[in-house]
Symmetry: none
Subunit: 205 residues, 4 copies
DNA sequence: AATGAATGAGGTTTCATTCAT
DNA sequence: GATGAATGAAACCTCATTCAT
């Protein structure tokens, strides 16, 4: 029973994601959010300090889950390749389940000054460190190319994944034209990136 | 002689880059730009339709050059690996020469509604098509893995490069901590991406 | 026994005085008052019609006491000079006992629209009439200068006293610099004002 | 010709005085001011930092003139009694010429936090020091009672004058009832206050 | 009586754009 | 072309008041 009751905070956050995804953060009015949520204008300010705060909360809520997911993947799997594959799959799954959320995370969050403050950057960096650690494990195990800086690898992995998703969100025609489905794309990316990390005959030279 | 005279339009564009880089597009006022340029408040509107238009002009100016550069690389080099290497080097060189410009291109341009209108997307897509064509050449020559969609490869390449540059711009401490210089990073990326594209013993199976 | 129980109304009033004194009427939120009083947000509205009403109640509570005090002074003393002296002493004593209250009475009450409505002005004017009557008595007894309008005298007396207290409240450094204590000031004022009313060689001309 | 052109700043200030006098500072909207001035909404913010700033400017403009007037009185007259008389006359004349202005100065200015900042308090205190100096001169000349602290005298003088004017502004019925005209009042006050300062037979004892 | 979540009107300020000179 | 004063729409946030529990 209690599970059915969505907290007001959650309600606002969900509405904000929908609205931000539609018009972008700067194109969205607080009143759009409250209207979407079916609540009174001022109520947002009982749960959030400001409009900024709503956006940052979306980021933090989501990236905390992401961090936990990575930790879980770390526990459940042992092969670094599988771990990276799992992370990428998770990102794509998140996109399919809530494309609006992903849109907001990719397009709106990084525009916000507050995102670059200590608090959020800490969380942001922690995620990349975790991914870098996985790369490092692969290197130690002799699976991944030792030439690659683990942290740079983590950034590149994310950059590549984000770029693809961004195309699906904002420029889908180019991909439809070529008949590349999102699942297709995901598998390409996994192959490409995992291979990028791997030791090959060439890099063995 | 004429080359020494910077047109007013150019003057405004240069000032805008500096200002947008500093405070972001939404954090910048038109008056900030004119002040930086040392011109009258309203003059921007003689050269540009709107504030949006200024940002889009920066994008178009730059990406037209970028397109030409890729075409030149295409003419001058024949090895697809070398071509991609050259493109990546060009992007990093551009960043080193004008980091503000790159900041604006990565952070502000893609977050502007107008960027997703026909006009700009045409230019944007043309660049990615060119890069995709290079990947295709590599595949036809038996150098690149045929499994990879050329267009996805192009997006990933750019996404990875952008992600790294974004870290240098917004989160440099993490990279300084690890003593990874920008040139270092560039070479890592080149190795990683070019290998990602390449046929390897593994992908040959 | 009942005397020890402070009614909720009283509790709110005391909290309001503290809060209004600190931030001024317009700078104080109803929630500040309830927080200070340690009661629920909405409870103020069970005891008062509005925020205005709280301030007006402070005024009325206090000025009713003040009126009674003046009446008592009128009964207990006979010399008009002594009466005025007593009134001034009472005001200063009130200030010393509850400076916050005086701050509110001097600064907030007279700047509230509602204060100028019939209801409060009646009480306000009754006090000044009482003081004017004392001046009149002095004139009739040949002690006070008949040239002075009693009501104007009453206003001036209060204006002078209020001005001094206001300085102690808002600009105490100027008085500290000159080492004038509040009791000092009180005695000066009494002398000055009582003399102002008195018949002198000059005014006898 | 130039004299006929009122600067925009002046225009706004005049409108603000009218509006503040009518509804009080907190009851006045910036749009009321611009409407009264017949100008665009945002123009206020080209000439003033904020609504606060408009009110403070009124105070500073006026009190700077007041200070100059006192200085002029100081130069032109020699008898301290005459000087005080002149100051009081000046205040009453100001009131008659622009009652709205006086209303604002008495009722709105002292409510404003900014008024208590260094800048405005400096000006405020300088005026009182000047008046105190005149009292001191009178004491040195053997005309004024040495018992009175000059600065307290200055405060009392102003407090008494302000109190009377306030009654004319907000509570005129009480004075009309008693048929006391404003000029009447002025002369009473002058007599009362100047006598308050003077050496009398009584204070000579 | 007590609580505090919910309401929503209202006002300040910002700033892109226009326009008279 | 150049200037910068003028315009006014737009939106965030506050907070007095109400109301369901």
């Amino acid at each position: 029973m209690n599970d059915l009751i969505i907290s007001k905070k959650e309600l606002i956050l969900d509405a904000a994601i929908k609205i931000f995804a539609r018009h972008g953060y700067y194109g969205s009015r607080v009143s759009d959010i409250t209207e979407e949520a079916g609540i009174a204008y001022g109520l947002v300010y009982r749960y959030f300090r400001s409009k900024d705060d709503v956006l940052i909360s979306i980021f933090q809520d989501r990236w905390n889950r992401y961090l936990k997911k990575i930790e879980q993947i770390n526990r459940d799997l042992s092969d670094p390749k599988e771990k990276l594959r799992s992370i990428i799959q998770y990102i794509f799954r998140s996109y399919r389940q809530n494309p609006d959320m992903m849109k907001v995370l990719i397009m709106d969050v990084p525009r916000l000054d507050k995102f670059y403050e200590q608090d959020s950057q800490g969380l942001y960096n922690r995620v990349f460190e975790k991914i870098a650690t996985i790369v490092k494990q692969g290197q130690d195990k002799g699976i991944f190319n030792k030439e690659i800086s683990p942290i740079l690898g983590a950034y590149m992995l994310h950059g590549a994944v984000d770029a693809i998703i961004r195309q699906y969100v904002y420029n889908p025609n180019e991909l439809k034209k070529r008949k590349i489905s999102i699942r297709n794309a995901r598998d390409h990316i996994i192959d490409f990136l995992v291979q990028g990390f791997s030791i090959t005959s060439e890099s063995k030279d």
